[in-house]
């Protein structure tokens, strides 16, 4: 294992401490386990609180997206392992400003159950709560059972929509509805070029041969659709676009938000090479890219590879995507 760490046991806590020290005007760390990240900036009374949480190792995803116009708080677990019930409960309470609390989470068994229990408890204490579960990874289940898909980079777009809607003053039902509507039109797929190592495990979660890739792999190394020889970027981009369009079936002329995301080690250069082809293909299909993000948004530590997310948008969703953000790790 070749990582810039001190002790695998303190990987998450030391990284969180570094985030707080580097961005004192962005983040505060709280919670009885020190695993709740909150916005350092002042929150409006009555605003809907937006919360998420998940395993660590995906920065900026989850904790990095706490900020004005995005999340109000986030529960942080261990590397690739969801946050504890206490951390989630404390995150929800930290985001209770009187307007209700919306949890936006990925569709993973532990997270949905723990957030479900914590929401039930907070609701029993009199706070309005709701949950939006993001399930955008088309490789993780067929369309007939789309509700069982994993949540991956589509979470970024969900955070942006929910955070902006809450800042605009929408009520809890409104924020939930617009976020769910956005996610109904969101699809993602990833391709892995190499594995990554969970610090406490010390060995790679999976190994890919020098010239192999895996299409459809999840952000924790979950099995993908096929493993085979590395291909030119344009061919990989074509397959990703083809799979997403076959699943989403956007009407001709539809406007799309597009996110080309690095899984960690893949540099911006290669992401733009992918984006170039994605853009050509979507334009050729009569689709308009109305909003684009290219960069490191939802990573798996040092894993090489990329994911592509597309989301159909209308004027309302575009306004929310373009709304201002004040978050140290947000890059528009």
């Amino acid at each position: 294992m070749k990582k810039l760490i001190n002790n695998p046991d303190y990987y998450v806590d030391e990284a969180l401490e570094g985030m707080r020290l580097a961005h004192p005007r962005g983040y505060t760390v709280s919670g009885s386990n020190g695993r709740v990240i909150e916005r350092a900036t002042r929150k409006s009374e009555g605003k809907v609180g937006i919360v998420s949480g998940g395993g660590f190792g995906h920065l900026p995803l989850f904790a990095g997206y706490v900020g004005e116009g995005l999340l109000d708080s986030c529960a942080v677990g261990h590397v690739f392992a969801g946050p504890s019930f206490d951390d989630v409960s404390e995150s929800l309470k930290a985001a209770d400003f009187g307007g209700g609390v919306l949890s936006v989470i990925g569709n993973y068994g532990g997270d949905t159950m723990v957030f479900g229990m914590a929401n039930d408890m907070l609701a029993a204490e009199g706070t309005d709560c709701a949950v939006v579960t993001v399930a955008d990874d088309v490789a993780s289940a067929p369309r007939e059972s789309a509700e069982t898909r994993r949540g991956v980079a589509g979470l970024i777009l969900a955070f942006k929509i929910a955070g902006a809607a809450a800042e605009k003053g929408m009520n809890l039902q409104g924020v939930k509805a617009v976020t769910e509507r956005a996610m109904t039109g969101c699809r993602s797929i990833g391709v892995a070029l190499s594995g990554c190592t969970v610090p406490q495990a010390g060995t790679p979660t999976f190994v890919l041969d020098e010239n192999s890739i895996e299409m459809g792999m999840g952000i924790h190394g979950e099995k993908g659709l096929w493993r085979g020889a590395l291909k030119p970027a344009d061919e990989i981009a074509s397959e990703m676009v083809e799979r997403l369009m076959a699943d989403l079936e956007p009407p001709k002329g539809a406007r799309l938000a597009v996110l080309v995301n690095s899984l960690g080690a893949t540099p911006l250069d290669e992401l733009y090479i992918l984006y170039r082809k994605v853009s050509q293909l979507l334009n050729a299909a009569g689709l308009e890219i109305a909003y684009s993000l290219v960069g490191h948004y939802a990573t798996s530590m040092e894993m090489a590879g990329a994911s592509l997310s597309v989301m159909t948008v209308d004027d309302e969703l575009l306004d929310l995507l373009n709304a201002p953000v004040n978050c140290p790790l947000w890059r528009a």
Binding site: S32, A81, P83, F85, D86, Y108, V114, M117, E222
Partner: protein, 209 residues
């Protein structure tokens, strides 16, 4: 032997189970890796270490003992298995409120209530090849009550039989649901953990799969 159990008994049993889970962590990870993300052993190890580190003696109150265990889990783990176990423990705590001892004859009904709440939380129907199938078999096996030894042995036999009965069945929940046939021939790691836990409670040797 006594036909009732107290909060102290629950605390002692939990410590025996925790020691077994610490010892079996790598085996659980290996079993889980066959169809999941391979971290079940680590999860149980983390929670078990926390249980073993909690040196405060358990009181007689049965309800408080169940809730104390639920709170240890709530602080240390966020996995689906932890959430399911926590849900069951909270139900057991609610259903034993005010009891300083509980009849083993009531154990089946209590576990059945816990099982129902765990199914509601996990949305896992019986027959899906999960820990809940093992627990269901235990609920049935301990209906006759008895003393600690009789109930423990009946529960252990049921857990072993359920493992064998499901070994050649497909897995319908979790990552293997996408390719259920891949679960054929494999033991569900949660069911194995149940068997190991019961074996530890009664000081029996766990089976090796």
């Amino acid at each position: 032997m006594s036909s009732t159990f107290t909060g102290k008994d629950i605390g002692a049993a939990a410590r025996r189970v925790a020691k077994a889970y610490v010892a079996e962590a790598e085996r659980f990870n290996r079993l889980d890796a066959a169809g999941g993300d391979g971290d079940m052993g680590t999860t149980l190890f983390t929670v078990s270490k926390a249980i073993l580190a909690d040196m405060e003696p358990f009181a007689e109150d049965v309800s408080k003992a169940f809730m104390r265990l639920a709170k240890i889990i709530s602080k240390h783990s966020g996995s689906s298995l932890s959430a399911v176990i926590m849900t069951g423990l909270i139900t057991l705590s609610l259903k034993t409120r005010g009891q300083r001892d509980t009849e083993y004859a009531d154990l089946s009904a209590l576990l059945t209530e816990a099982l129902t709440s765990m199914q509601q939380r996990s949305k896992a129907p019986l027959g899906s090849k999960t820990v809940l199938d093992g627990l269901h078999a235990v609920c049935e096996a301990v209906k006759g009550g008895g003393d600690a030894r009789q109930v423990g042995q009946a529960a252990h036999e049921a857990a072993i039989e359920t493992l064998a009965a499901y070994r050649e069945k497909p897995a319908m929940i979790g990552r293997l649901r996408l390719e259920p046939s891949k679960g054929v021939g494999l033991d569900d790691p949660g069911m194995v953990a149940l068997e190991v836990g019961i074996a530890a409670m009664i000081d029996a040797e766990p089976t090796q799969t």
